[in-house]
Each structure stands twice: as C-alpha cells, then as structure tokens.
Subunit: 576 residues, 2 copies
C-alpha cells in the first residue's frame, strides 16, 4: 500500500496487458516524431546546445513514468520553462560557454529538489498563489517574449535582451545585417507551419481523412519543415553562404553530467529555481488534470510534484535542463491513445534511438526553421482576450493580469510574475478588509431576513441586525468596530444589536478582541449585543473563551429566533 | 462643511465655552506635570539630548489640536516610538552627534509625510495588517527591550545593542564597572516608583482620598522621584563622584530646525519611517477610540492620520523627533477632564514655560532616575499572557505572537514586527486555501440542511450537496476542483451536484474559471451542476459572464428548492 503510493508504477504495472502495450507503443511513435524538432528548438530557446533538448526528454520521461500519476502527461522541455531557464542562467553565465551548460544543470537540480520537497511535505497548494489571471497574463507575455526572441534567427542577425524593449532595440540596431537566404528559409518555414496549423487539417478532412488522423498529421508538420529546409540547405550549399545551421550534434546516449554545486551559484539560482518549479508544476498539473478527467481518472497533485521533481533531478545528471509536463505533447500523447505512463517510457526509447542514429541528419538543419517552429508554437499561447474578459468581470482581476503582462514584457519574467502574485494577494486582502455588511429586516410574513436597502422589510428602531458577509480576521476586525460605532453609538433609540454570523466562517483572535471591545462599548451604553446563526466551528472556538460568558446578550440559533425574542420585549428597555 | 472636515477645530472651536475652558485648563496642568520627567526620559531612550523630548511635546501637541479629532488624545514622545527611533537612527548615525539629532528630525519628517499621505488618500486601513496578536507581542517584546536598555543607566555602566542578546552581552561585559552611588539612586527610584504604582493608590484610598484624585496623585510619583534624587545629587555633590546627570539643558523655546534631506539618508530611513508611522498610528488610534467611545463620541481614523502627520512634521522643524498619541498621558488627560483638543494646547503652553524657566532645575537630575521612570512605565506594557490566551484560542494566532516576540527580542524591532505581519498574512491565506466544505443533507421534516457527518439527515445517492464555507478566490479555486473530482468522479451513482453558496461572499476570476472547469468536467460525465443560495453581489458578477448560460443545471434561490426539484425527478436519469 504505502510503497505504491510513492511508486504508482507498482499499481498500474501489475495490471499492464497487451492492449495497453499496443496503445502505448502507437502513442510513443507519434510523440517521438513530434518531439525531435521540438526538443532541438527549445534547447535553442534556452540558449543551450541542441542535444540538451533531446537529453532533457529521455531520463526525465523515464523517471516521470516511475513516479508520476498521469497516464497521458508527456514530460520534457517546454517553451515557457526554456525562456525562464534562459533568463535565469543568462544572469550567471555567458551563453555558449561550458559554465552556461553547467548552470542549466544546477538549475534543473535545484528545481527538482524543490519540487521533491514540496511533494514530500504535501505543499502543492503553494501553487495556488498563482491566480488564473496571473498565469494567463504571464503565459501570454512569455509567448510574446519568446516569439520576439526568435525573430533574430529568422533574420539571421545578432540579438539579445530578456525584456521586450531590450529585444526590440537590439533587433532594430542589427536590422541592417539581415541575411537574405536565412530570411527566405525562415519566412517560408513560418508560413508553411502556420498553414499546417490553420489550413492543413480542414484540407485533410475534406479529403475524407478521419479527424484524429488529420490532427496527428498536422502535428507532424514541423518534421516536414525540418526535412525540407535541411535538404535545401544541404543541396544548395547554403551553410557556406552564411545560413546558420545546427551543425554537429554528438551521436550518443545522454551523458552522465554533474551540476555545478558552488555555493554562489546555488544562491543565485535558488529564487529562479523556485519560480520555475512552481510555474512548471502549475502548467503540468492543469494539463494532467484536464486529461485525466476526460477518462474519469484522477491524478494526485502531491505525487505529481514528486514525479516532476524526479524528472528534473534526472535532467540535471544526464545533460538536460529544467523540464515539465508540456501541453501540446501531452494532448498528442492522449489523442494518440496513451493508456499508461509506459507510453512515456517508449517515447524515451524512441528519442534515445534518435540521439544515437539520427543526429547526423540534422547537421544542415537551419536554425531559422527551429525558430519558425518555436514562433508558431508559442503564438498560440498568446491570448490577450484575458484582458477583456477580466475587465468585464472585475477590476481587481484585470489589474493583476495587466500588471503581470506589462511588467513581464517590460522588466522580465521574474519581476513580472512576482509582481502579479503580490498584487493578487494585496488586492484580495484589500477586498476582505472592507467586507460587505448589510443591515437586514424581516420580509413580512416570512422567517427570511433581507437587506433593508434592497428589499421592503419590517424593521424595529430598537433592534439593529447587521449581517456580516465575510469571515472576521485581523485585516477587517477594526472595520467592524468602526462600523458598529458609526451605526449605533449616535442612535439613541437602539437597545439591541444582533450580529448575523451566517457567512462568518472564522473568527481569529484579533476579531475576538474586537468583538470583546464592541461588547464593552455597547454594554457601557446599555445596549445588548446578540449573535445569530453562528456556525459550528466558530461556536466551538468562542466556547473556549470568556466571550460568551461576558456577552451582554444572547446567542440565538436562528435570526428568526433572535428577532422574535428581542422585538417582543415590551416596553422598550435597556438590555440587562 | 468641507474645511471643517480637515480642520476639526472649526467645529469644536465655535462651541467652546467657559466650562470647557476650565476643564481643559485643569487637565493641562496635571498632564504638564506628568510630561516633564517623561519627555526627558523618552529623549534619553531615543538617544537624544533631553530637551528634544520637551520640544517634541510642544509644536506637535499644538498641531494635533488643530487637525486631530480626539478630545482626549495627548500627543508626544512615547516609549515604543522612542525605541524604534533609537533603532532606526542608530543605524545611520552615531549617538550623541549632530548627525544623530538631524537624522531624528528627518525620521519625524518622513514619518509625518507618510501619515499625511495615508490620511489624504484615506489609507488608514493599512494599519489593520498589524493583527492584535502581532501588536500585543510587539509591545510586550518592546517593553522588555526598553527596560533592558535602561539597566545600564541604573548600574552606571556602558552598554549598547538593539537586540536582547546584544544588550545582555554588553551589560554582562561591563558589569564590573558598576557605579555604587548611581546604583543606589537607581534602585531607590525604581523601588519608590513601583511602590507608588502598586501601593500608593490603595494607601490614599484608605485615607479617604477620592478615586480620581488618588489616580492623579499616583501619576505625579515620577515628579517626586525627580525632585528628591536631583536634590540628593546636588546636596551630596554626587555628580563629581561620577553619577551621570542630565546636565545643561538650553533654556529656550523650541528652536526652528531643518531636517537633513540628503537622498541617501531619506532612502535609509524610509522603511523605518513607515514602520514608525503605522505602529504609532495603531497605538494612537486605539487609545483615542477607546476614550471617545466612553463619552459616546467618535473619532475619524483618516483625519487622525492627518493630525498625527501634522504633529510629526511639526516635530521635524522644531527640534523634536517622531511622536504619537501616548496611552498613559491620554488616559490622565481624559481622567483629569479634558473636554476638547484645547487641553492639549494648554499643555503645550505649560511645557513651553517649563522649557524657558524650569530647565536649569534639572541640571543635577540623575539619568538613573529617568531610567527608573522608563523601566517602571514600560514594564506595565509587558504582558506575556497573550501567549497563553492565543494558545488557548488558536495555534495560528499563537504562532504570530510567538514569532513576533522571539524575533523582536532576538533580531530587533523591524525584523520582529515585519515577520509577525508576514506570518499573519501567510497563515490567513493558508487557512482560506483549504476551506471548510461540508456535504449536507436535509434534517427530516424541515427545510434545514446540515452536515451529514454531524447530524442525522436525509440523503439521496443521486444528489450530492456541498456547502462551501469560504469565499472562492484564486488561493482556493483549485482546491474546489480537486474536491469535486474526489467526491463525484469516482461515484457512479451521482446524477446531480448542488453547490450551496450561502457563505460564499465573492467569486473571483480564478474561481469563475474553476467553476467553468468543474461544469465542463461534470457535463462530460452527464452530471448536472446546480447552485443554491447565491448572494446578490455574487449573482450580479456571474450574470456578467457566460457561466450561467453554459451551466449544466440550474440556480436555485434556496437549498430547499434545489433539493425538492432534484430529488423528485423520477426515475433517476442524467441531467440534460
């Protein structure tokens, strides 16, 4: 029992049969074909040699297959994490150096260790601090940054920068160096891939190809672009005319590598590693959850942390860089029929064969083609409609999205996402700091109580009922004191105040002291303080204090009971 | 109208009469007598020359009288703010230098400017982020730090440090230098003042003195100690034998001073100034509110910010240092009958006279006596029972108090209070991240629905009702998705899910997307999703989206309606 909790393979492995095997093998072949160009491209995006992308797809997939809980998740390099890697490692090492490669390994190790710790201590909920609008804004801004960062490969010029203004400035400065042959290849590949995405599937469907097959053929588009442009570069000798190519890629299985563990590097990369872990986890777990639900299956988020942690640690020791579960490849895996994590293991074998046998074939592959595959892939991440949708829904969510997008583009990925998270928390706290409180009266002839400003209800000048629509805690405790003073202290006719607690889910110690202060203030004025509809857990807490003993009034089970008891007291008199 | 909002004096000034005048004058005389030794002592605590304490009590009081809204609040140097000043200024200048004095003026200016800004933009609620337990812990730890910092004056030795270990280490190292005559004076003064506080009032009451008069006489104890020890030092020539004395204090009205405005200093003092502003404001406003409520009066917290801001800016330009409304002096002012802020103005006049005429008299005042008055005053702030009380109430509040106390003592005031605030926020978010959700069923024969685990209720395997006891927002949005998957996805008998929203006060965009995801998941499984008891403001938000149109089910006004409609459907079938 206990071991299979941490090693889900013991569970599904026992039930593995021939059907599952054939489904998994078919899915693995399709995903492998898709992953070869994608892995090379994302390594380029991360500023690493192309083989790092292949290596990052082998050991991590195998380790995830051992520890992960999703049957369809495909783990490996993804666009956003590659961008984050480039941003983090670029700050501590020069791209193209051995130090850069070693720092990427360190980043994967730190990230894996952090994920593993979160998993062991079941801290997956920390990922929830990334709100949906912040994630959406961040992904959109990242897509724009990634696409912009690849434009230089299409133009065949130099370029740098980690923010949009830096990138655009650098592109503008070097625009005069544009390399014509590279530009032709880049634009042709980009145009072709956009057509594959938008036009090929309808065309295939028109020819009578089944939907699923048409989908999968579409995913093979990048392979076709790679083959065609590689052949063109080789046949026309374009490499000698200045078209940047991938060049020699070692023909080997993933090497055993050792991350750089110098304390200064670990310190510099710690915060980016945490950020990469959390963003990678959020992306991965939402894909895994969506796919699992379609088959009425469940994933365990805390075990997913362990699976992803193991995958990243694996990447650190086998020449990779930070990885996570990717959206596009997982959907392909799922659609191709992957039944268990074994599909991932077969994909790893496919990629290992590619690393051994196919790498010489990509020697003449132009970098512009890889850039085109990245641009086409990430532009589908860009969705500025989140701005419109949150604007329509609430200014608070809009502020979080807009801040995240603007700061990610303008100041970089780390500052952007951190600001979005902090702003979300601050706005949430601000919102609960001035909670909605309604003065309610009885709807005539019923036991229902409604806002006196919205409904035609019975009231009694001697009895004021305030319904508090928020949990009471330190941020809003003082607000309640102010509110009651405002409403009651100046109104001489008030004899009793009822606080209706139906929406109060917790009362913390600060709020308890505020309630005590309110009770004292009202007692000094001869006004009774009563509570109604207090929830079980809140009542349990209050019973452990002196508050109920000192309360200058009663606790009523329902608001109806409270109203009945207090308005029937004749003649009006001060509470005892 | 508008002007008197910002200048409350226009309001109470018009109604000022002879009765108020005589009440205010009497209160002013009593408070002035109390303030003379206290002002000198707190200046010593802040590391400033004694006259700074007097100056800080003159212009600030006058400015508060113009802009403040409390009739009883007495503004001036207070213990905790003096400690914070010593800690902040000690980091940028050497005690006893002109730079130290100028930096204290800068701190007062920054602090005043910050308070004024908060007041103008009505941001007083920011103070609510200091929870009651954090404040209680901070005040207690500050009291211990302050008392410890004064022990060296009682012993007549050198000493330094801003944390408890530093102070104790320094005291221990210099213990051999203890000065006997100073020790005798210090211990005698401390013992006398403790007796005044604990024993004098009962003794006077026993002699038939009225309660209020006995109270006020008790407050005059420090003056007696000052007079007696000053006389002893002068008569016995102890100053020549090494007893540290106050020495020459300039005989003048507050001078016009200019704070040091160098950018580096402003930057270094900005964060401490914010901290001092907020802590000072919280202390001041809670005193003012308590006293106002006793007379059925109200204060305006945002206008209080303006009053305190003006007072601090005044302090900056008249040789003072950061000030706020003090607890002890305000209570004395209130008990002595202060009727309007004019009492404060008269106190300022009294102190101005003292600054002109009485300062030569304190030449021989031993610093040990001032240290004794500080120790006796601040030990009343130390209340470790907050640890026990929060422990009994909730572990979360206990953690906040304990962290604040331990870190304030061990690492200093800024780190202590900042950690307390951050921990409180983190624990609150953690708490709402896994909200209480109850599966409810109908109490037989009623329209009430209760937790199926706590009550004997009717249930229906086809209809699951989940009552969500928390607002839905990004931190807990994913939790709800998990929860519904856990409960529903694996249970084949479920045909309808009702989410009971009676305690859901807000639904943010993240939660909306989670609800949409839940709806899609359940729809794919042929399960209906229904809402009941949705509040008005939440419903308004939802109506602005497509969610209600896409909902695979209905929104019911009451849980009773929902239950009735869904359980009566015969035979069991998938929701449409």
């Amino acid at each position: 029992m206990r071991l299979s909790r941490y090693l889900p393979i013991l569970d599904w492995g026992r039930r593995y049969d021939r059907d599952a095997l054939s489904n998994d093998m078919i899915a693995a072949v399709i995903v492998t074909i898709m992953l070869i160009p994608q892995s090379l491209a994302y390594a380029l995006l991360a500023g690493l040699p192309p083989e790092a992308g292949i290596y990052a797809s082998i050991a991590p997939i195998l380790l995830y297959a051992l520890f992960g809980t999703s049957n369809a998740l495909a783990v490996g390099p993804v666009a956003v994490v590659s961008l984050l890697t480039a941003s983090a490692v670029g700050q501590v090492a020069e791209a193209g150096t051995a130090g850069y490669v070693a720092a990427a390994l360190t980043l994967a190790l730190l990230s894996g260790g952090f994920l593993l710790l979160m998993g062991v201590f079941k801290l997956g909920f920390f990922a929830n601090f990334l709100s949906h609008p912040v994630i959406a804004g961040f992904i959109t801004a990242s897509g724009i940054l990634i696409a912009t960062s690849q434009v230089r490969h299409i133009l065949g010029i130099e370029g740098q920068g980690h923010t949009l203004p830096e990138m655009l400035g650098s592109l503008w400065a070097n625009l005069g160096d544009t390399h014509l042959a590279t530009l032709v290849i880049g634009v042709a590949a980009t145009g072709f891939l956009f057509w594959v995405r938008r036009g090929l599937k309808p065309a295939l469907r028109g020819l009578g190809v089944p939907n699923r097959a048409a989908d999968i053929a579409t995913k093979a588009g990048p392979v076709l672009a790679v083959v065609a442009t590689t052949f063109a570069v080789w046949a026309l000798g374009l490499a000698d005319r200045g078209v940047a190519i991938v060049g020699a890629v070692p023909q080997s299985l993933p090497p055993l590598t050792m991350p750089d563990l110098s304390p200064a590097l670990l310190r510099d990369l710690a915060v980016p590693a945490i950020l990469i872990s959390i963003i990678g986890f959020v992306e991965s777990v939402s894909v895994a959850q969506t796919l699992a639900a379609k088959r009425r299956q469940r994933i365990q988020p805390d075990q997913e942390l362990i699976g992803l942690g193991a995958a990243n640690i694996g990447a650190a020791f086998t020449g990779g860089y930070p990885v996570t579960g990717g959206f596009a490849r997982s959907v392909v895996n799922f659609d191709a029929g992957a039944a268990t994590p074994a599909a991932g293991a077969f994909t790893a074998i496919g990629l290992a064969i590619a690393a051994l046998a196919l790498t010489p074939l990509v020697f003449f592959l132009p970098k512009a083609t890889l850039a085109a595959t990245i641009i086409v892939a990430v532009l589908s991440l860009v969705d500025l409609s989140i701005l419109r949708r949150t604007w329509a829904y609430s200014p608070r969510d809009f502020a979080a999205v807009a801040t995240t997008i603007v700061l990610t583009l303008g100041l970089g990925v780390e500052i952007g996402v951190a600001s979005g998270v902090l702003l979300s928390i601050a706005l949430h706290l601000y919102n609960t700091a001035k909670p909605h409180v309604a003065e309610v009266g009885r709807v005539p002839g019923t036991q229902h109580f409604r806002n006196i400003n919205r409904h035609n209800v019975e009231t009694d000048a001697r009895v004021v009922t305030l319904r508090i629509d928020e949990s009471l805690y330190f941020v809003n405790a003082r607000f309640l004191e102010d509110l009651i003073q405002d409403r009651v202290v100046a109104d001489e006719s008030v004899r009793d105040v009822i606080l209706m607690f139906s929406a109060v889910n917790t009362v913390d110690y600060s709020a308890l002291e505020s309630l005590e202060a309110i009770n004292e203030t009202l007692m000094a004025l001869g006004i009774g303080l009563h509570l109604s509809e207090v929830k079980g857990p809140v009542m349990d807490r209050l019973k452990a204090t002196h508050f109920l003993a000192e309360l200058n009034g009663e606790v009523f089970l329902s608001q109806h009971d409270a109203w009945d008891a207090l308005t029937r007291r004749q003649p009006p008199r001060a509470a005892q």
